[in-house]
């Protein structure tokens, strides 16, 4: 388990004794319980475990979508607690890519515009933006479909757009919450091939949450979670 504070690897993510408590009516639910974890640069790691084990909560905390009740989270050696809401948004925009189970594309935007959206937020100049979007759509196998809206695409195609959107900024890490859960097995394989290729060839770090055995089989590292805790952390480099 790579849970020590000092390691020879460059840590993209470091969590130290992180807990997340929710109120469900009058009952306090512990979604994460003093989790300590490090994700290294170039990792292709999966969080696995039963529903309610804390996988999505962990991804949300790492991505700055939620705030821990206790503990600290560093992203590229900067404590997320030091950032304002706007600064966290900027970190997400520039350093994190998200892929969601339900694709979560903006319905009024075409594939091109969804992939372009983050670059627009970054105020990337028009010509460069166009070049990068076209390149990333080709990379995910969507060239020719750039003018389609989400409701004109299959689930697999939508997930590819989501991946394109996640990687177009060349983030430090892609956080993917059950990315293959809503697609058929052929599409799931294609998506996994794509992610693996991006990890291998471009060194993008991936952290998944998944129940998918095929995805688990492809990762270098499997982090088993149960009841908000890390039960086991298998590294298979």
């Amino acid at each position: 388990m790579s849970t020590t504070e000092e390691t020879p690897h460059a840590h993209i993510v470091r969590m130290q004794a992180v807990s997340k408590l929710y109120m469900q009516g009058k009952i306090t639910v512990t979604a994460l319980d003093r989790v300590t974890l490090e994700v290294d640069e170039g990792d292709f790691a999966a969080l696995c475990g039963p529903s309610g084990s804390g996988k999505s909560t962990l991804l949300n905390l790492v991505g700055g979508l939620d705030e821990p009740s206790e503990g600290r989270i560093w992203l590229e050696n900067r404590d997320l607690a030091e950032y304002s809401r706007s600064q966290v948004a900027r970190v997400r925009r520039d350093r994190i890519g998200f892929v969601f189970q339900a694709y979560n594309l903006v319905p009024v935007m075409t594939a091109y515009e969804n992939a372009e959206f983050v670059l627009r937020l970054q105020s990337v100049p028009d010509a460069e933006r166009h070049e990068r979007v076209m390149a990333v759509l080709q990379e995910v196998g969507l060239d020719g479909l750039e003018h389609r809206r989400p409701d004109e695409m299959s689930g697999g195609q939508q997930q590819r757009v989501a991946i394109a959107r996640a990687i177009v900024t060349r983030p430090a890490i892609v956080l993917a919450d059950e990315p293959t859960a809503n697609v058929d097995s052929v599409t799931a394989d294609a998506i996994l091939d794509l992610m693996q290729k991006l990890n291998r060839e471009e060194g993008i770090t991936f952290l998944f949450s998944t129940h998918d055995q095929r995805l688990m089989a492809r990762t270098h590292r499997l982090i088993y979670m149960r009841d908000g805790r890390i039960e086991r952390d298998d590294i298979r480099r």
Partner: protein, 409 residues
């Protein structure tokens, strides 16, 4: 962001159109209310001006408070020339206004007289001349003619060619009398005027009052646009100095000014209430639209949109909604405005032809006319309301934590 906001607006076409229509309807109501005011107030002020004082009046200091005939201006011709030098002035007329008793062998009545130069007076600047129903205008400045109101003629049993004796105090406070023959009878429809107003030749009146040539109680100034009254008054006062008083119609006709102020205030309150109703509609639309897209906003924030950018997106939607609404308002209001401005609606059946307020006759035909500044005020006001209505939904959208937004259906 501008394009995205535009597209977002058309995701629920019906709701957007209904809200835009409510803004448009607001434009129609605001134009109707404001246009009625602009038209009616201008008419009342112009009518008031033509009853004697003009839009701006040059008169002796203190005459407005105590209008006695010992107070007079000396070189009225020079003051008239000063007035005519102002670009906003269309005409300036020298007059003498005073109080007196008017009697025949059978009866007498108190009232006001207006000494006029027949050569200077035109129906455009004189309500009494406009309302002449029998006889003719006075012939010369030193004649013995008099023009009286229809009610006074009835009361004193007078007719054309009959003799009337008027009694007043002269410049030195002595009681003086003079006889005159009725040359014309006017009927304005305003009881106070028809019952107690006469028009006399100015030089004959000067003689009776002991005024020297050129002396008068006022120079009544007629403007091209009544809205310039205050500006002209100030400019003239600076030019002439403090030896005489320069007053605008609000000061010479405080009753009329009061009525207009009250009416304008109630008009503003009505428009404010309408505006609030419209703002509530816009707020509802944008809030619904924000609540429906909570998850989408979560996605946008997850991929890096800041709360500030989200705020700007919703505000841009609000901007577009306001633009569509104002455009729709212009389209639906234009024919309505054209009809009322051109033909109007005749209410003489219910209020008659002789309805007056503040001593001024009200036009029974409901017309509208909108000043340029009113158009700007209406568009800017409704636009601002629409933008303000977007503030809360925009603020709210940015306040929802991304993780909560993503959980929304």
């Amino acid at each position: 962001m501008i394009r995205l906001a535009w597209r977002n607006l058309w995701r629920n076409r019906r709701r957007t159109l209904i809200t835009a229509f409510s803004i448009g309807f607001g434009v129609l109501l605001a134009v109707t209310f404001t246009g009625t005011g602009d038209y009616a107030y201008t008419n009342m002020i112009d009518a008031g001006a033509s009853m004697g004082y003009g839009h701006v009046t040059i008169e002796p200091v203190g005459y407005n408070r105590t209008p006695t005939l010992d107070k007079r201006i000396g070189d009225s011709a020079a003051l008239r020339a000063d007035a005519l030098s102002q670009p906003d002035v269309r005409d300036a007329i020298v007059r003498i206004l005073g109080q007196g008793m008017f009697a025949t062998a059978s009866n007498s009545i108190g009232g006001s007289f207006l000494g006029v130069d027949p050569a200077s007076e035109t129906p455009a600047w004189s309500l009494l001349l406009r309302s002449l129903v029998r006889g003719n205008m006075l012939r010369d400045r030193d004649g013995s003619g008099v023009i009286i109101g229809s009610k006074m003629a009835d009361h004193l049993n007078l007719d054309l060619g009959k003799k009337l004796v008027y009694t007043t105090t002269d410049a030195s406070g002595e009681i003086v009398s003079e006889a005159a023959r009725v040359r014309g009878i006017f009927h304005t429809g305003i009881n106070e005027v028809d019952n107690a107003f006469v028009m006399l030749p100015i030089d004959r009146l000067r003689h009776v009052l002991g005024y020297r040539k050129g002396e008068a109680t006022m120079v009544a100034i007629m403007l091209r646009d009544q809205r310039r009254a205050r500006r002209v008054r100030n400019a003239l006062q600076r030019r002439i100095g403090n030896g005489v008083a320069v007053l605008d119609w609000r000061q010479t006709q405080p009753d009329l000014a009061g009525i207009i102020n009250i009416d304008r205030s109630s008009n503003y309150i009505s428009q404010l209430l309408i505006g609030l109703l419209i703002a509530a509609g816009i707020l509802n639309t944008l809030l619904m639209s924000v609540l429906e897209r909570t998850r989408e906003f979560g996605i946008m924030m997850a991929v890096g949109m800041s709360p500030g950018q989200l705020f700007r997106l919703i505000m841009t939607e609000s901007f577009w909604l306001a633009c569509i609404g104002l455009l729709m308002g212009t389209v639906i209001t234009a024919p309505w405005y054209w009809y009322l401005a051109t033909y109007g609606i005749d209410f003489s059946g219910s209020i008659g032809h002789d309805y007056s307020a503040g001593g001024v006759l009200i036009d029974p035909v409901f017309h509208i006319r909108l000043f340029a500044e009113s158009i700007v005020a209406i568009l800017a006001g409704l636009f601002t309301l629409a933008i303000l209505a977007g503030l809360y939904p925009a603020w709210r959208a940015g306040r929802i934590p991304p993780v909560e937004s993503l959980k929304a259906l």
